[in-house]
Amino acid sequence: MAIKYLKADALPALLEALAKNARVVAPFKRDGVTQFEPWQSGKDVELDVLLAKQSPKERVFLQTETYLKFGYTMAPIEEGAEGEAAVPHEMVIVDAVNEAPAQVIFGLRPCDARGFVQMDQVFGGYGGFYFDPLYNARREATTLLAVTCRDPRSTCFCTAIGGCPAGHEGVDALFTQVDGGFAVEALTPKGEAALAAGAAGAVLADATDAQTGEAAETKMAATLKVDVPFDLDGIRDNLHDNIAADGWHDLAMRCISCGTCTYVCPNCYCFSINDSLVESTGDRYRCWDNCFNPLYTEETSGHNPRAAKSNRFRNRFGHKFWYYPDKYDSLLCSGCGRCIMHCPTRIDIREVLRTMGSPAGQPPAEPVAAPAAECGATVSGAAPQAAPVGAEAPGAPRPTGSEEGIDA
């Protein structure tokens, strides 16, 4: 699909048209805090703030999601029943709940969208595991309209792990701010459908060469602003080799073992399942949980494999850069930097990876070379180019020869 142009003051009309058939969610600033909230006519979308406090993952992967409702009751006895059939028996009625309203998330960043793709693999039955109908129903009903980052923060590192401020992964349509409006590219059939629906309310003209060129320059400039703090090459092997290193204790000393990093992350997905029951009706729900919770792995016997904070700390980074790539085909991080921004003691994932992701747990003396000036996406719609430094595939190169994924 050709690149379109949307005037800035036509954005509300576009969102209004989309809101006719879907819930539209976008970042809004309220009392100085920017969060993804349902769009309402008259509210201005906040695009000057790079990242909303939280990622939009909770729109697809709900923080609290009831998926079973049940009630205990007595089975009805047939008239004239005798003997065993006349004795009252308990029964339980169980209903599966799965609500997936159509929704459009506008204004997320490519790192947020990439987070969805990384979660898709977990919930999508990839690798012969189970398919999660709860997540997938919402995911299929959700269209992601991302906005290119113009001014990455010092805490961003998307390009270090194969992403890009104008990345395409997970994005249905990409909006890039240019003079007076947006250059708009549909990247998937869902994106095309959304733009077609939006065009009922707002005019989407063909972009001029100048607008197309400006968008390309914006993307390129943004990509160059992102620092590359570590080399992906060998990270997984080094994490494996450093598993028992003392360095984990040092890095975890200022960690307070809360769950902030996992909850603001666009792709952390660990959850718990609990039942609640009042008298004879109740429900079963899943809710976000985090591996820093001291009780996360505590067994009923009282034994806790990750009683030590440094083990829990190690587990999160291991999960994102070793365990997850072993099972699925990318890293579990999109380089948004929210964990760094919001951690109460500013634990820095880049520092952790530079240290424990390097041989012998020693950070490299030399700064890492900046990636070649290629953007992960091109404006003309040609195939995405190779990811920058250190990675041929989205994940670190696998060790060869072992079915289990880890060499002895």
Binding site: F129, Y130, A244, N274, L277, D329, S330
Partner: protein, 307 residues
């Protein structure tokens, strides 16, 4: 199990939902279909008190089609729970050839097992089974199998013991060493009676301390194991029991010359989804619920020390 270790799917290294789930809006059958969080409703048909803290529960699925189609591999587990309290993971302890019911043996320890122990015959429960990887009983054909278990560890090995006993001719030998703290604390006493009557297996029962009327061995399981001095040649060693017993039993196996490749155990972890998604039960890159719970010692050696 997963066929993705090559790193690509359909030649692509970066996936979208459509790659992962072909035809993503249509209903699917089989493993990629249905709702793996939705339990099957079953009725408790028999409760057998085994020891003061362990009961065995036999259930029939309410849906006869489910009951008929249900099958599992020895060593597989299931999520068994009470609606309103929660589910927990338990080894399936019925014989794999048993078609009339599914059986779990439960030790009372926390909130969920307490609620399970309060069940009566006729009560309704929820079951999601089978799950996990069982023991590689096919690959073990022709070998001697040595089961070493203590306490509730017998539940984890029960189905596999019964399977190999039913297929006795496939195996070069079967030895069972089962230890309990006291005579009344053995589970499956009714099955042990049958085992004792067989002449084609080696059965050693042991209790911790001398006791009037006890005619079998006395001593802790690892000590009795070393006294038995089993020959590691062409033998598979499997152990399960309280963590302290497993730890010393594994040390004894090593002392007796068993390699890590021929020694197996089952792991226990706090679990929630049981289907490899929620991210809780991992030891390093392995999920106990889908990659395990059965692991060889060689596999465990690759994992972080977080057992």
């Amino acid at each position: 199990m997963p066929d993705t270790m090559s790193g690509t799917v359909n030649g692509k290294t970066r996936l979208t939902l459509a790659d992962v789930v072909p035809g993503a809006s249509t209903a699917r059958a089989g493993k990629l279909g249905g709702n793996p969080y939705l339990p099957e409703i079953a009725t408790v048909v028999q409760i057998i008190p085994e020891t003061p803290s362990i009961k065995t529960f036999r259930m029939r699925f309410d849906d006869p089609a489910v009951q008929e189609k249900f099958s599992f591999a020895p060593g597989q587990v299931g999520q068994f729970g009470v609606f309103g309290v929660g589910e927990s993971t338990f080894a399936i302890t019925s014989r794999p050839s048993e078609k009339e019911f599914i059986q779990f043996s439960v030790m009372k320890a926390g909130e969920i097992t307490k609620a399970i122990h309060n069940l009566s015959e006729g009560d309704k429960v929820g079951i999601r089974a089978p799950m996990g990887c069982g023991f590689p009983v096919e690959a073990w054909k022709g070998k001697k199998i040595l089961y070493v278990m203590g306490g509730i560890g017998s539940a984890a090995l029960k189905a596999t013991i019964e399977y190999t006993l039913e297929h006795r001719a496939d195996y070069a030998g079967i030895s069972i060493l089962y230890g309990a703290t006291a005579p009344q604390n053995f589970t499956y006493q009714y099955d042990i009676d049958d085992w004792q009557k067989r002449s084609d297996i080696d059965l050693t029962l042991t209790i911790d301390r001398e006791c009037d009327g006890w005619q079998c061995d006395v001593g802790m399981v690892p000590a009795v194991l070393e006294r038995m001095n089993p020959d590691p040649a062409e033998t598979i060693a499997i152990t399960c029991g309280p963590p302290i017993m497993i730890k010393f039993a594994l040390m004894s196996f090593r002392k007796l010359g068993f390699t890590d490749e021929q020694t197996y155990t089952t792991l226990e972890k706090r679990m929630k989804c049981g289907i490899g998604i929620c991210g809780r039960c991992n030891v390093g890159p392995k999920y106990v619920c889908v990659d395990g719970p059965v692991f060889s010692l060689a596999e465990l050696g690759e994992l972080p020390d977080e057992l």
